[in-house]
């Protein structure tokens, strides 16, 4: 039996934009066990329910993360709206859906860039991030923000988007789609990329389900679980099928995310085509009293928002379970038996968002 040694990975590592630590138990070059450690930047935002009222908590939720910002505001607002039995106007639901899909586009492009950088394709990395700028420009034009949007509120949304701007978005989306067709080719066809990704970090469907994984990490193992299928916002009015792959390896996760970007373009176009006229919000009367568990499909997977309210303006509890938190168990499983050189790629393939995890 080989001698075992422990290699600390992170919290600072070139492939990690945010801090997470792994103790890698090694036998020669093979990882036999990985023990994750988080908590380096825990902020305790959930505790702010003591100081911020239920309307102000939308802003707190948005600040959980700079990439999934819109989704956090949306998930929290929807949970409170369910408790208060508020029916949000259709136009607000459609705009929420468009922004959610734009978030998916920019999050997946950001991840593709990081992946390209991790396996040494720097031009490809820059191309991905250049294309991502287009999505951020659309956010800036429609919400006024590029990172934190502050456009969500309990009862609807804060800003309307003109029909002219939506037409412009349609054209921009088409152009982005053409450019993504070019960028996607090296990810899907290049031999060097395939060598790094194919057969690396395989997670079977049974494992992914048993470990409670979420998002593209789960669907790449062949499980068609996409929370958008529940029909929240305007997802019930658009045609889409969860994108899955069956191999369960790093290549499958990349393929799923690329296909999800194309799917997001399609959903945005459908929403623009069907965009209803009318109000973007409704008056909110009274205080929330009750509890609700809302789930939405963030770019990285299923996010859970639990809200418990007591009839006053301060709620009792807001709890957010982020997809990265759910995927940590799956990550630990995929690392078992891999080569040390594959660890950075595998950590990346769950698309870790430590800012969300350390909310």
């Amino acid at each position: 039996m080989s001698t075992r040694s422990v290699i600390p990975f992170g919290p600072q590592h070139p492939v990690l934009p945010e801090p997470i630590h792994l103790d890698l138990v090694m036998e020669d070059e093979k990882v036999v066990e990985a023990i994750p450690s988080i908590g380096f930047i825990h902020r305790g935002l959930e505790k702010l329910v003591d100081k911020k009222d239920f309307n102000e908590m939308v802003y707190v939720a948005e600040r959980i993360c700079g990439i999934c910002s819109l989704g956090h505001g949306l998930g929290y607002s929807e949970a409170v709206e369910h408790i208060m039995d508020i029916d949000v106007p259709s136009r607000a639901k459609y705009l929420r859906t468009i922004w959610s899909e734009l978030s998916r586009v920019h999050s997946h492009l950001l991840w593709l860039g990081l992946l390209a950088d991790a396996f040494g394709f720097e031009s490809l990395y820059m191309e991905c991030w250049r294309l991502r700028e287009e999505a951020l420009d659309m956010f800036e034009a429609s919400t006024g923000g590029r990172v934190i949007f502050s456009v969500m509120k309990v009862g609807g949304i804060r800003r309307d988007v003109s029909d002219e701007m939506l037409k412009d978005f349609y054209q921009r989306i088409n152009k982005m789609e053409e450019q993504l067709n070019t960028i996607a080719k090296p990810f899907l066809n290049d031999m060097a990329v395939q060598t790094r990704l194919r057969g690396v970090g395989v997670l079977t469907a049974e494992q992914a389900d048993a470990l409670g994984c979420a998002g593209p990490f789960l669907r790449a193992s062949g499980i068609a679980r996409d929370i958008r299928s529940t029909g929240y916002c305007a997802y019930g009015d658009v045609d889409f099928e969860p994108i899955i792959s069956t191999e369960g390896d790093s290549y499958a996760r990349t393929e799923c995310r690329i296909k999800e970007i194309f799917q997001a373009f399609d959903i945005i176009r459908q929403c623009i085509d069907k965009m209803p006229a009318g109000d973007i919000d409704v008056p909110v009367k009274g205080m929330p009293n009750g509890e609700y568990v809302m789930r939405i499909e963030q770019p990285r997977g299923e996010a859970i928002y639990y809200v418990k309210a007591n009839g006053s303006k301060f709620i009792d509890r807001m709890r957010v379970r982020t997809p990265t938190f759910a995927n940590l168990s799956g990550l630990v499983e995929t690392l078992k038996g891999c080569d040390l050189a594959d660890v950075p790629i595998l950590v990346l393939t769950i698309d870790p968002c430590i800012s969300c995890t350390e909310r």
């Binding site: 568990v293 639990y306 009792d316 709890r319 940590l328």
Partner: protein, 110 residues
């Protein structure tokens, strides 16, 4: 979306979790909420797009069994409940013993 909360006894959590495991449910999340002299725990399980929420009230000085023997991935949620709220959980498969979160004060959400 199903938000029905099923009230259960903390002592029966292993049995209840086992039933759900055999019925094909996966663990979605575990969460603690502070109530006077106790904790309110909610364990959420899912199957396809359906959710079940087991809800229980655990007196502050009482321990609850870990469900990591049934759902190994529960370790991360149970360590979180312990570190932030001080919920006493016995037999967690990977027990960080209060070191999952590096908080300035012990059990800040208690």
């Amino acid at each position: 979306m199903n938000t029905e909360f099923i009230n259960v006894n903390p002592e029966s959590i292993i049995d209840e979790s086992q039933k759900l495991k055999f019925a094909g449910y996966h663990l979605i999340q575990q969460c603690a909420t502070r109530v006077p002299d106790a904790y309110e725990l909610i364990y959420t399980f899912g199957k396809d797009l359906e959710m079940k929420h087991l809800k229980m009230t655990l007196p502050e000085d009482q321990e609850i069994s870990s469900i990591t023997s049934i759902y190994p991935c529960a370790f991360i949620y149970e360590n979180e409940m312990h570190d932030l709220f001080g919920v006493q959980i016995k037999m967690i498969n990977i027990d960080y013993e209060g070191k999952l979160y590096r908080t300035a004060i012990e059990t800040p959400f208690k």
